[in-house]
């Protein structure tokens, strides 16, 4: 076996004047992030292969003629890197001014998507709303796609291709792609059609990685006019057994949307259409809001909790008295939390001493 000469020896480089260690294969950007040295980025998503498009992450490497993109450049032993200086900051500002010049608007509602504030945040940080570099705007919003989930507002697109890459690399659907080239570049689907007619599964990952809000969560955006602060609550998707972590978006007492948890242990930021978009049943008008009890007329009628619970309890008590403890059975839910299943089985076991309990796993 060939032993790498660098193995065993700790790899070191100099980052902003400080000697730091790194491991083989790490990029300069990764090393810097680990060292809590922030480097601005726009085309970067830690879950994706580094792309090197926005060039915001350029750093100075001693011995190199021009700055290098830290997101794609591997750290090497002895490298001397500077992440910030006047020239780099000026380039970053120029890049942001160029970005501002090509877009219809920079400020979008955070309801559009998880990463939708990235551009606006950087633009403010660098004071890049200077109005310089005016000219044509790039990207044309798609007005013909009638899908109810994903807004395709390409007027705001900055061609970072995070959406295309997330669809290919994370979701594996390859539903969207880059059309044309240069300033005419446009995010597209097969034959520039609707998402519905493409390989898109409406998982929403493109929406959540888009740094401009060009791709927007239409369902969440309906809540833009609602007053109140946007709050996030971490929970787990209510559908399949993968158990994806999500952040529930609420305004006041209303659940207005869902965003994936980028650090969710089971999903690392991924979701499917159900977890992403099928949340609003919670506020559906048909939700049961009061207990119902069957009346003498054979119909179900609204009742108070006391009345309904007494009636429920009575029935079980009577069954036990009249037909014995084996006449009562419980079916727990595979959809409700542990506490529901646990109390259900305890209800049967502690109440009647039987094991007459099951759940719906068989259906």
């Amino acid at each position: 076996m060939i032993v790498d000469a660098t193995q065993g020896r700790a790899l070191r480089m100099t980052l902003d004047g400080e000697e730091v260690r790194f491991s083989d294969g790490e990029t300069i950007y990764e090393v810097a992030t680990r060292q809590h040295t922030p480097i601005p980025t726009l085309c970067y998503d830690p879950r994706l292969e580094p792309f090197g498009g926005c060039r915001m992450c350029v750093v100075e490497v001693e011995g190199a003629r021009t700055p290098v993109a830290s997101c794609t450049t591997p750290a090497t032993a002895g490298m001397v890197v500077r992440t910030k200086n006047v020239a780099l900051e000026k380039h970053r500002k120029t890049l942001l001014e160029l970005v501002v010049s090509e877009n219809r608007e920079v400020d979008v509602d955070p309801l559009r998507g998880y990463a939708s504030q990235e551009v606006a945040t950087l633009v403010d940080e660098y004071g890049a709303r200077t109005g310089r570099f005016q000219g044509q705007r790039s990207g044309t919003s798609n007005e013909t796609d009638d899908n109810p989930f994903i807004k395709r507002d390409y007027d705001l697109c900055i061609s970072c291709y995070r959406c295309v890459r997330v669809c290919a690399e994370q979701e594996g659907d390859h539903a969207i792609a880059v059309m044309n080239r240069g300033f005419q570049t446009q995010i597209t689907t097969e034959f520039n059609g609707r998402l519905k007619d493409s390989a898109c599964t409406f998982c929403g990952q493109c929406v959540q990685t888009c740094p401009t809000g060009a791709l927007g969560d239409i369902k969440a955006m309906r809540a833009e006019p609602l007053p109140g602060e946007l709050k996030k609550t971490r929970t787990i998707c209510p559908y399949c057994g993968v158990g994806c972590s999500v952040d529930l978006l609420t305004k006041g007492e209303r659940l207005v949307g869902v965003q994936p948890a980028m650090d969710g242990p089971a999903n690392k930021g991924a979701l499917c259409i159900k977890g992403q978009f099928a949340f609003d049943f919670v506020h559906h008008e048909e939700r049961l809001k009061t207990p119902l009890v069957r009346g003498d007329d054979g119909e179900l009628h609204e009742a108070s909790w006391d009345e309904a619970l007494d009636r429920a309890a009575d029935g079980f008590r009577r069954a036990r008295e009249e037909h014995g403890r084996y006449s009562i059975y419980g079916v727990a839910s595979g959809r409700a939390p542990h506490e529901a299943a646990y109390t259900m089985q305890k209800f049967i076991r502690a109440g009647f001493g039987t094991n007459y309990i099951d759940n719906c796993s068989r259906a």
């Binding site: 109810p148 989930f149 690399e169 594996g172 929970t235 209510p238 399949c240 057994g241 993968v242 158990g243 529930l248 609420t250 209303r254 659940l255 969710g264 089971a266 991924a270 259409i273 159900k274 977890g275 099928a278 949340f279 049943f281 506020h283 049961l288 809001k289 009890v293 069957r294 909790w305 619970l309 429920a312 309890a313 029935g315 079980f316 069954a319 084996y326 006449s327 009562i328 079916v331 727990a332 839910s333 409700a336 939390p337 542990h338 506490e339 529901a340 299943a341 646990y342 109390t343 259900m344 089985q345 305890k346 209800f347 502690a350 001493g353 039987t354 099951d358 719906c360 796993s361 068989r362």
Partner: protein, 525 residues
């Protein structure tokens, strides 16, 4: 699952059988897609040419219900080609030699005859899986919803045991659990055979432990399953408490099921909507839904995670645990004086050895996969690493059986059922979420285009679909996703109630219904 979800990116050979993962567990399927993008090979066995099959390098279009034959044929080839992991078998398993002797007659040609898959493809699949560094098996209800569901699972275990593809990273026999907390329902003891933590009811010591904890004498004997209970409704079973299940739409033999529920003296349903099942109840109690409820759930990889409320309950809705506890208190059962979900979860942890190291606060970030036997334990992402639960891995000798019902002149077509990406179960939730209808507004019976033509049907037209148990109408979609002679439909839409047709038989051990196979007739309407 024996292995964590993150492992799905790691196997060099992936064997998926009876799982429509891209539709039913989409985020898990992304792991497989990444593995393939990085050079892994995937074998998919499924009667339908599902999306996963299109991603696979080797697709085995097996006839519905012929899984055991395929797996026996593969075991035969693995043994014949000397791909058996002798060291693993000798040190970790028992019954291996008998099994290898047993599979001798089951040649790939024999399996080809039953499954309809060419013998050479069965051989290739066996050789790929048998020579994998890290071979992993994934399955879902396509394996379990058969009269031979247990045999199917056992056959998969046999393959893993003979090749040593278990107990290591990127391997394992991995069932994908269908519902968000179906794993949790089992963990919590909502099964007739086990107390919380999979402690057997038949073990007197366990019965004693729970009798003591609950202050009641509890039978040291398994209870009956739901299927049996439904059969006994009106006779032995008089009162039923159902939490959050739309039995009428999701269970097979719909008419039988409705009849059973109607013949009860007392039916109490807890749910968030008034379901078809709720309509039959004496008392319907409104539960808080997801998003309104604090609690705990466990996913398919045994990861214990927190559910959190973000909005107040709808109307007067109450958490399920509160409702159940109230009923319990009102019939005089002690031990239900809970004030929060936390109290209940911590009680569970105290009684369940696999949760012994957990409590409400420790699961805040969801980093634990059970078993977590004590507070110093990091959790168990991979099961069976050094030894199996009961010591050695046992090979099971088994043979192929036909499905409960096979096609004949009267019912010449196979019907198989399942789920779709955009809808979940009986659509109580997805059906009430805006926009989903845009993608899936009605149920469609998937029929191979040639069959559409030769049976005199029209793409987009209606047909009569009948089985020995009933008859429904369905709208037709011509697609080569269905093989010739087999049709597919999901059980999501109440207006296409396939569960009127299904229910030809049940697995004798688990009493799981054979929802994946039934013989039908398709006629133009």
């Amino acid at each position: 699952m024996s292995n964590p979800l993150i492992d799905m990116e790691k196997p060099d050979v992936i064997f998926c059988i009876g799982t429509n993962m891209t539709e039913c567990h989409p985020v898990a399927a992304t792991g497989l897609k990444k593995a393939i993008a990085h050079g892994s090979r995937m074998i998919v066995a499924d009667p339908r040419k599902i999306p996963l099959a299109r991603l696979a390098q080797l697709y085995l279009p097996i006839r519905v219900g012929s899984d055991v034959a395929l797996l026996l044929g593969m075991a035969h080839v693995i043994a014949r080609e000397g791909l058996v992991d002798r060291q693993f078998m000798d040190s970790r398993t028992s019954g291996g030699d008998e099994f290898i002797e047993h599979v001798k007659p089951f040649t790939p040609e024999w399996a080809a005859e039953i499954t309809g898959v060419p013998a050479k493809d069965i051989e290739t699949a066996a050789i790929w899986y048998g020579s994998a560094e890290q071979g992993a098996i994934y399955y879902t209800l396509g394996i379990t919803e058969h009269i031979c569901g247990v045999d199917n699972v056992q056959s998969l275990c046999n393959l893993a045991l003979m090749t040593g593809n278990i107990g290591r990273e990127g391997t394992g026999v991995n069932p994908m659990r269908g519902q968000n907390n179906i794993q949790g329902a089992g963990d919590c003891g909502a099964v007739p055979s086990h107390f919380p933590g999979f402690q057997s009811c038949a073990e007197p010591e366990n019965a004693r432990k729970f009798s003591e904890a609950y202050g009641t004498e509890i039978d040291a004997e398994k209870g009956i399953t739901k299927v049996t209970a439904l059969n006994q409704c009106g006779d032995q079973i008089r009162a039923l408490l159902i939490d959050g299940e739309n039995t009428v739409v999701s269970d097979p033999e719909r008419e039988h099921c409705e009849h059973a529920l109607k013949s009860l003296d007392h039916l109490v349903v807890i749910d968030i909507f008034l379901t078809e099942t709720g309509e039959l109840a004496d008392v319907v109690l409104p539960a808080t839904s997801w998003g309104e409820t604090d609690g705990v759930c466990a996913n398919t990889e045994r990861r214990v995670q927190r559910l959190r409320a973000a909005v107040p309950p709808a109307g007067q809705a109450k958490p399920d645990w509160w409702i159940v506890s109230q009923i319990a208190q009102r019939i005089g059962t002690p031990g239900f004086e809970y004030e929060s979900a936390k109290d209940i979860f911590n009680e569970l942890c105290g009684l369940s050895p696999i949760y012994a190291g957990l409590d409400w606060d420790r699961i805040d970030q969801g980093e634990y996969q059970w078993p977590v036997p004590d507070k110093d334990h990091p959790g168990t992402p991979i099961l069976h690493v050094r030894e199996f639960k009961n010591g050695r891995g046992l090979f099971k000798i088994l043979g192929y059986r036909d499905p409960a019902e096979v096609i004949d002149d009267d019912f010449p077509v196979w019907l198989t059922t399942g789920r779709r990406l955009q809808s979940y179960h009986t659509r109580t939730q997805t059906g009430r979420s805006q926009g989903i209808d845009y993608l899936l507004s009605e149920e469609l019976l998937e029929v191979h285009p040639h069959d559409v033509a030769s049976w005199g049907l029209v793409d987009g037209g209606q047909c009569h679909l009948s089985s020995r148990r009933g008859k429904i109408m369905a709208k037709i979609k011509a697609t080569d996703q269905s093989p010739r002679g087999t049709v597919f439909c999901s059980f999501s839409f109440n207006d296409t109630p396939v569960n009127i047709l299904t229910g030809s038989g049940y697995d004798p051990v688990t009493e799981t219904a054979e929802l994946k196979v039934c013989a039908v007739r398709v006629e133009p309407a």
